[in-house]
Symmetry: C2
DNA sequence: CGGGAATAGTTAGCCGGGGTAACGAGTTCA
DNA sequence: TGAACTCGTTACCCCGGCTAACTATTCCCG
């Protein structure tokens, strides 16, 4: 049942200075898959779609390009995500008042409803597990979060 | 150029208690995309393939099922990832000595070389940005890392 | 000891969501 | 005013998840 003998071992729980990047990278990848697996059954919107709704909710109307940059995605990808959201009635496209090239995206009433309904029940899995942590551990995550955000936005 | 007026604002940099899960979730998603964009040009292996090589390097030979569980992926997905690695000569499948149903996967010489060559230059982007952080910030990440790992492995 | 249940892996096929290339409409500026 | 640039879209490709269904092997119980 168990694997055969191991050739090389590395510290799994106590990464050294030079291992921090490696461990952090793989951890982010796996944690993302873990979070994806916990999608709410009564919310058929994908993670990327929800991210767009949240961005609009937090920042108000945005152009397609601004949304793409914010989510670190190429414009064509954002266009397709928006197509789905428009079709679902969650967002609306409208012409930019000053610049005819740009397109402003805004939440519809329904989209705002999805965000607000989602706010309560979302992240249930993660929130539950966060509750299982000690206060110190939660504090450690809270301290690391802005740094991770800066990394995500870097360059 | 800037977005139109915003409807609702939320604390971006100082998440409250109840916002931790939400912020952490989106941050993980975006950071992952950021990291994916920084793939090394002279390494054509995908992130999932590299994760497999690293797992084998760290833990020695593993079965397909063990690899799938470790990467939080379904067996068919791991089978396909392994197909690519076998074709590229990075890993080998061989029969399990005791249980004819299982298949052991091991690194080839070439695969081990990829891991070792990669170890030095990998995560250059992330490592560079980690170097730009203060010692306190790195410590915060290091403290958060095992908690994130536990979350990634939870349930 | 024989046969059904359980387990490991694979095959086949679907689909979300990234990417690049190319293009048209609109804007800017020399 | 015409050339160069910008923004968004279209068309298309591909990676890498997933489920369902199947085979081979092992386990266990009657």
């Amino acid at each position: 049942m168990s694997p055969v003998d191991a050739a090389a071992r590395a510290p799994r729980r106590a990464p050294l200075r030079e291992g921090l990047a490696t461990e952090l990278r793989f951890t982010v990848m796996r944690l993302r898959r873990r979070l994806l697996a916990e999608r709410h059954p009564d919310n058929d919107l994908s993670a990327s779609s929800m991210a767009v709704l949240w961005a609009l909710h937090r920042e108000g109307d945005l152009t397609v390009g601004a949304l793409a940059a914010r989510e670190r995605v190429r414009p064509p990808s954002m266009t397709r995500t928006l197509d789905g959201l428009v079709e679902g009635g969650h967002v609306e496209r409208r012409a930019h008042p000053d610049d005819g090239r740009q397109v402003l995206v805004s939440l519809t009433e329904a989209g705002r409803g999805v965000v607000q309904a989602d706010a309560g029940r979302r992240d249930r899995w993660l929130a539950r597990h966060l509750d299982d942590l000690t206060a110190d551990e939660r504090a450690a995550l809270r301290a690391a979060l802005p740094i991770l955000q800066r990394l995500a936005d870097a360059d």
